[in-house]
């Protein structure tokens, strides 16, 4: 099991991670979600002992990465697919990795075959497309048959077929009882490929839960069409609801459930023509959760006023 234990990382005057604390359990695919620059890669680097934490630590089954006897047999990681010497062939790259952790040579051909680049394994990595490099990175992560797997933005550069393949692959790894920790800035990707989701923003833990948990916590809106919109608007506002009036007199109400709105309308004798609860999409939830923590947030476009 992977444990992030009050991890803090500061670089000079920026705080990349701020007391990040969570656990990643085996047997499920855990998505690690956050906007760009929120600290996902930093977290991965700290897990692998590449960077030194300012405070706290990351442990794998209770041990720091540096204390693992044969790290590649415990943790497989794909951080940056292009971080391979471009002048070396894929097979030689993997052979060197295997040798460092006493992994048998035969395993190299096995993983090359598995990720589907065996036919180009004799070619220099510099000539690889991003998709092929990703597959090589995945091969490297699988080399030691580890129980914990970390993937930083693995779908980048993959074609649709590759994305489908990698989703199924994550699931099968998790089904084998492994810990699978996958970062992404794309909620839609995580919604289909992860069972559990951990959301961070600006280096801080925001929330954790299943995809359903996360959408359930979000407050949806209710679409309403009524006979007397102005009257309903004032009544809803009295009940602390928020109303957005659309051009054609239709209303989108938030802060109140459809049941409450129906009751209000009934008591006031307003005829309801349409009343539709609108469930928040995972994307909305994510936007909502991380709205305050975007590193380079785009403000809402304002209407220009000409005088």
């Amino acid at each position: 099991m992977l444990k992030i234990d009050h991890l803090t990382k500061r670089y000079k005057d920026t705080t990349a991670l701020d007391d990040l604390d969570f656990e990643v359990k085996p047997g499920v695919v855990t998505g690690f979600l956050g906007p760009n620059g929120s600290g996902k890669t930093t977290t991965m680097r700290l897990i692998l002992g590449l960077d030194h934490p300012t405070k706290g630590r990351a442990t794998i089954d209770g041990l720091s990465y540096a204390d693992l006897k044969a790290p590649l047999r415990e943790v497989g990681a794909l951080l940056d697919a292009k971080a391979v010497h471009p002048g070396r062939t894929a097979r030689n790259h993997l052979r060197a990795l295997a040798a460092s952790n006493q992994i048998p040579k035969a395993r190299v051909d096995e993983v090359l075959e598995f990720v589907g680049i065996a036919s180009v394994a004799h070619k220099k990595v510099g000539s690889y497309s991003l998709g092929m490099s990703q597959r090589l990175g995945i091969a490297g992560a699988l080399l030691g048959d580890p129980g914990v797997l970390l993937f930083d933005e693995p779908v980048n550069g993959l074609d649709p077929e590759g994305i489908k393949w990698i989703r199924d692959f994550f699931r099968s790894l998790a089904k084998e009882g492994r810990t699978v920790f996958v970062s992404s800035h794309l909620m839609s990707e995580m919604a289909v490929s992860a069972d559990q989701i951990i959301v961070i923003g600006r280096g801080r833990f925001i929330t954790q839960g299943s995809v359903d948990d996360l959408t359930a916590t979000a407050h949806g809106t209710v679409f309403v069409r009524v006979s007397d919109p102005p009257q309903l608007i004032s009544l809803v506002k009295n009940q602390n609801g928020t109303v957005e009036e659309m051009n054609d007199g239709n209303l989108t109400i938030s802060g109140l459930t459809s049941d409450q709105i129906g009751g209000i309308a009934f008591n006031a004798g307003i005829t309801i023509l349409e009343l539709t609860p609108q469930r928040a999409s995972l994307e909305d939830v994510f936007m909502d959760l991380t709205a305050d923590s975007l590193e380079f947030g785009s403000s809402k476009p304002e209407t220009a006023h000409h005088e």
């Binding site: 680097r45 044969a70 292009k82 002048g87 060197a96 990795l97 040798a99």
Partner: protein
């Protein structure tokens, strides 16, 4: 056999990495080409003009170091090989993969040093012996020659190979410290060429004390059959160079341990 990582498995891995990139192959090819090429050129010219040489020339003539003159150029080839062995890991980003596989920094440096010094020692000895024997063959009959049956000649030839192998490690240590190919190679060249130029501006009494510590003069000492004036003896020069290498390697290892990769 234990399935854990150890310095042997690290060295095996580094050996695969060392020999599977073109830069190593090209670097070693350059080493042979420069050393043998320039030595051949200069020994041939010397032989052709020997009858015009003065009495002083003849008295101070050293067939050993003269035959090995191409080593001057070899210094740059081995420096680049050493630098690239680590700086290429930084420029490609593969250092992160390497450190994930071998999180123990001291073990990583040890493994790399074993591979680099082990292989470059063999290569440099081969190139110096070939160059020496070629030079004596060119000289023979016209110019005085030296023979490996003399202990001090044998020592000079062996220590020249050792000098180059240690210089490889110095390049490696600079790469470890600076993490950048161009910067490391520049500093290497500065130490090798510019530092002696600066010391030229010092008063002679100082120079006699300082110059023996310069890399080029360490080689002069190591390649001499006798101890040159104001310079170290062969073994003292070897010890001084070894200390340089150890100090730079220790500094590089310390930085590797404390810096974020």
């Amino acid at each position: 056999m234990s399935k854990n990582e150890n310095v042997v498995s690290t060295a095996k891995s580094e050996w695969i990495k060392f020999r599977t990139v073109n830069s190593t192959i090209i670097g070693i090819a350059m080493l042979f080409f420069l050393t043998i090429g320039f030595s051949l050129l200069i020994t041939l010219v010397l032989r052709a003009h020997w009858d015009q040489s003065t009495r002083i020339d003849r008295l101070t003539f050293d067939p050993v170091s003269t035959s090995l003159v191409g080593v001057f150029f070899a210094q740059f080839a081995v420096g680049v090989i050493g630098v690239l062995f680590i700086s290429a890991e930084y420029s490609s980003g593969s250092i992160r993969t390497t450190l994930a596989a071998v999180p123990n920094r001291v073990r990583l440096v040890t493994g790399k040093v074993i591979v680099l010094f082990g292989s470059m020692f063999v290569v440099c000895e081969v190139v110096t012996f070939v160059t020496f024997l070629m030079g004596q063959a060119v000289f023979s009959g016209v110019v005085p020659t030296a023979s490996l049956s003399s202990g001090s000649v044998l020592r000079a030839v062996i220590l020249t190979g050792v000098y180059l192998a240690l210089l490889t490690l110095l390049g490696f240590a600079l790469g470890l410290i600076l993490r950048q190919s161009a910067a490391s190679i520049s500093v290497f060249v500065v130490i090798l060429l510019i530092v002696p130029l600066i010391s030229l501006s010092f008063p002679e009494s100082w120079r006699n004390d300082i110059e023996r510590f310069e890399l080029g003069n360490l080689w002069t000492s190591m390649a001499s059959t006798t101890t040159p004036a104001h310079l170290f003896s062969a073994w003292s020069a070897f010890a001084a160079l070894a200390i340089y290498v150890v100090v730079f390697l220790a500094a590089g290892t310390m930085l590797l341990q404390t810096r974020d990769a």
